[in-house]
């Protein structure tokens, strides 16, 4: 008996050591075969645990990907920080690893490819409970000496690790919408070139770049640290340099670290003082609305949605500059933003409609057709979804319906 008990204790200790968060490991070249080779996160004992120095972040308005929930992280070498840029993605140091893990709530019971729409679970202290959750894929963007590299990993059936899939994959899932409708769809993991399809935001240089890691997407109350703006928090924890000005009350913040052991990477953020600083970031930095925040104007919500979902291609230099449609947030409303604009190369993607936006008439606007349809040659974005984002479509339709004017 005594021997058996000792053995059990030893076994648990041995396993616990194996799954304890380790320091992230940067690979300067090659494509490691497993996600675990990067030591960013550990899936074990019913939880996905981020390693020390792996910082979760989220966006005011995210890209839609078939209702998948996304856990985003950024990891930088110790003592280094990203350099602030007001419009483009921040300039991250060599050695940075950005991860995005796509997962779904399941509908309960044995896994049978059934997934549900939200809600987003809370990520407490870098731990995502995996009960009732299915991990699908984790995409890495890795900043190497000669630029960013995209590396896709697909989670295994056992949900213990994700495996390199450079050519992508297709998975048949069934989406259960909140009103009970069930809809089979092909969840598509992009291949490495398709990663570039979005992340090579300049189609001339074709250098890959993060998309979400821009001031206007990150400028929001932190989801992971109470009472502080996410960008202020990055500045305070020395993750971001060169931002317009230091946030107020920095000196009042506790310098003590909340948890975690030594790491070669950026330390977990200091916790805010008892009196949280005002959310000063919101005015200092460009800012996108949350597309679901009804206290924001319809225009701000629609523009934020179109920015997050379209402008990485539909810009002045992106792969979709061939269309003449530019959906970056500062572009004034006019033909370049879709007003009464004829399509250039849509084919059937026009949906039989004449103009991108017909003021007051969403049902006559190509925008709405492109977003509603799931036909591969017609839909927008071209990649990254197989279902229609009904709530996003409703927002854009409402925005167009509220417009005055006509196409003469």
């Amino acid at each position: 008996m005594r021997f058996a008990a000792a053995l059990a204790a030893l076994l648990i200790a041995a396993c616990a050591r194996d799954v304890a968060p380790a320091a992230p490991m940067f690979h300067a070249e090659g494509y490691p075969a497993k996600l675990s080779d990067w030591r960013l996160m550990t899936a074990a004992n019913g939880a996905l645990t981020l390693s020390t120095g792996v910082n979760p972040y989220d966006l005011a308005t995210p890209l839609f990907t078939d209702y998948a929930l996304k856990l985003r992280t950024v990891t930088m070498p110790k003592g280094e920080a990203a350099v602030y840029r007001s419009d483009e993605a921040f300039d991250f140091p060599v050695g940075t690893i950005v991860s995005k893990t796509f997962y779904y709530p399941t509908t309960g019971g044995e896994w049978a490819s059934d997934v549900a729409v939200g809600p987003e679970p809370t990520l407490a202290k870098g731990v995502l409970p995996l009960v009732g959750v299915r991990l699908v894929e984790t995409r890495l963007l890795v900043r190497r000496a000669d630029g960013w590299v995209a590396i896709p990993y697909v989670w295994n059936d056992e949900q213990t690790d994700a495996v390199l899939h450079r050519t992508g994959a297709t998975k048949t899932l069934t989406l259960h919408r909140p009103d009970g409708r069930a809809e089979p769809f092909a969840y598509v993991v992009p291949n490495q070139n398709q990663c570039a399809g979005c992340h090579a935001t300049n189609n001339t240089t074709r250098k890959l770049s993060p998309i979400g890691l821009k001031a206007r997407h990150l400028n929001k109350p932190s989801t992971f640290e109470a009472g502080v703006n996410q960008l202020d928090h990055w500045i305070l924890s020395a993750m971001l340099a060169g931002a317009p000005s230091a946030p107020p009350l920095a000196g009042e913040l506790s310098a003590q670290r909340t948890e975690g052991g030594p790491s070669d990477y950026v330390s977990p953020p200091p916790s805010p003082a008892a009196t949280p600083p005002p959310q000063a970031g919101e005015e200092k930095f460009p800012r996108n609305a949350s597309w679901t925040d009804e206290s924001e104007t319809l225009d701000a919500r629609a523009r934020a949605y179109l920015d997050a979902n379209c402008s990485h291609c539909h810009s002045d230099v992106g792969p979709a500059d061939t269309s003449g449609l530019d959906l970056r947030p500062h572009v004034p409303f006019g033909p370049s933003y879709g007003a009464c604009k004829s399509p250039i190369a849509s084919g059937g993607g026009s949906g039989g409609r004449l103009y991108d936006i017909v003021p007051g008439k969403p049902e006559e606007s190509i925008f709405v057709y492109r977003m509603e349809t799931t036909k591969p040659g017609h839909m927008m974005p071209e990649l990254g979804r197989s279902t229609s984002h009904e709530e996003g479509v409703a927002l854009i339709a409402e925005w167009i319906a509220a417009m005055e004017g006509e196409c003469g």
Partner: protein
């Protein structure tokens, strides 16, 4: 049990217990298929590589993509190596190339959900003896473009066959220095379309059974307008297929039975072609005002007028006998009677008054027709077709001829 043995046993047990949780992902290995094989070759290609595509028919459920410069994709023949996208679930094209110095030859792409082969911003592009086909014949739900180089430079399309595109079979957009020759475009809405492109030579092609044979267009809101296209020594015959383009697209307004169509483009030379049996008109010259485009949807600097169009030495026959659309039918009946035909050249009559000097356009901006026996009809678009009239004599003029396009960097050499 000795201590040593017990320790060993313990280690094995420990390893086994933990190993179970960390089992490598056997189930996640992708199934071996030609799709994965070819995708991997495209990902791993190095400049100078020739990727040989074997004989046979291969199925793909996602787009292929190439982003490495200097790669050649070579099949065993446009009827022998077939990449089929009938089961495609994702991707807006069959093959998307974002690279320079690219050559594609001797294979076929079938039934893509969107475009067949798209090259976005490539320099030195050769596509030869490639077939792109929608095998169910002309249908609105077919993909838009067959071969689709856009924002590219030094482009050669030769010996290709494109059938069934719901927009244009061979489409060159926003490009510079282009040769399109010896291709066959059949049963597309537009057979061959040159759009917002500088310096294109289109010759020795056959365009037949399309809605419109060869189009030279300029569209608003783009980075460059187009100019200097020569269309010569082509066969543009019997392009009478009912327009199956989706409304809203630039080609959806093309009447069935259009031979060569110039819209808003400048410095276009049309000569030495056989243009026959196109039942609306063998040649149509029009401005953007004759399209569905909205004046509220155009960039302010866009020039909507076709200028410097020179038509000469073509063999034109049997055009205009049964024009598409009520307006043109009525026009034909009123002017030429039930057994007559519209003239070989139709023009919508829009002129940019701001460019006139002493009441006339300067010579290089005129529309000139010096073609034995060909008449030109101004159908008076600006006044709602109220006073259509033959204006052949007014357009009996010449424009300095354009030089031949010379591709650089040894392309096509």
């Amino acid at each position: 049990m000795s201590r040593a043995i017990r320790t060993t046993l313990l280690s094995i047990l420990a390893l086994a217990a933990c190993g179970k949780k960390e089992a490598p992902a056997t189930g996640a290995t992708p199934p071996a298929s030609y799709q994965d094989e070819l995708m991997t070759m495209l990902l791993d290609a190095k400049p100078g590589d020739v990727i040989e595509l074997p004989e046979g028919k291969f199925s793909f459920d996602r787009s292929l993509s190439l982003a490495v410069d200097g790669v050649t994709l070579r099949g065993k023949g446009l009827d022998k190596t077939v990449l089929s996208f009938k089961d495609q679930v994702a991707g807006a094209e069959g093959l998307i190339v974002t690279a320079n110095d690219f050559t594609a030859e001797d294979f076929a792409i079938e039934d893509t959900k969107g475009d067949g082969l798209k090259v976005n911003e490539g320099k030195n592009i050769v596509i030869r003896r490639v077939r792109v086909e929608w095998t169910g014949g002309p249908k609105t739900e077919n993909g838009a473009y067959g071969l689709y180089p856009v924002q590219s430079e030094n482009v050669l399309l030769e010996g290709n066959v494109v059938i069934g595109a719901s927009d244009a079979g061979l489409y060159v957009g926003q490009s510079k220095n282009v040769i399109v020759r010896n291709n066959r475009a059949e049963k597309n809405v537009a057979g061959i379309e040159i759009e917002n492109t500088f310096d294109a030579d289109v010759y020795d092609n056959v365009a037949t059974g399309n809605t419109g044979g060869i189009l030279v267009f300029n569209m608003p809101n783009l980075k460059q307008p187009g100019a200097r296209t020569r269309v010569f020594h082509n066969e543009v015959v019997d392009n009478n297929t009912k327009n199956f383009g989706a409304p809203g697209t630039a080609v959806a307004g093309i009447p069935a039975g259009s031979g060569v169509v110039v819209n808003a483009n400048d410095q276009v030379e049309i000569f030495d072609n056989d243009i026959k049996g196109n039942k609306t008109a063998n040649i149509i010259i029009a401005s953007v005002f004759s399209t569905d485009l909205s004046k509220d949807g155009m960039s302010a600097d866009f020039d909507p007028y076709p200028e410097g169009v020179y038509i000469y030495g073509n063999r034109l026959a049997d055009g205009g006998k049964n024009p598409d659309g009520l307006e043109l039918q009525a026009l034909k009946l009123a002017m030429f009677g039930p057994t007559g035909a519209l003239p070989d050249v139709l023009w919508d009559g829009y002129v940019d008054d701001k460019k006139k000097i002493d009441g006339a356009l300067p010579g290089p901006l005129r529309i000139c027709v010096k073609n034995d026996g060909a008449e030109i009809l101004n159908y008076d678009g600006p006044n709602g077709n109220k006073a259509p009239r033959l204006v052949t004599a007014d357009h009996d003029c010449e424009i300095e001829k354009l030089p031949a396009v010379a591709l650089a960097n040894g392309v096509g050499g």
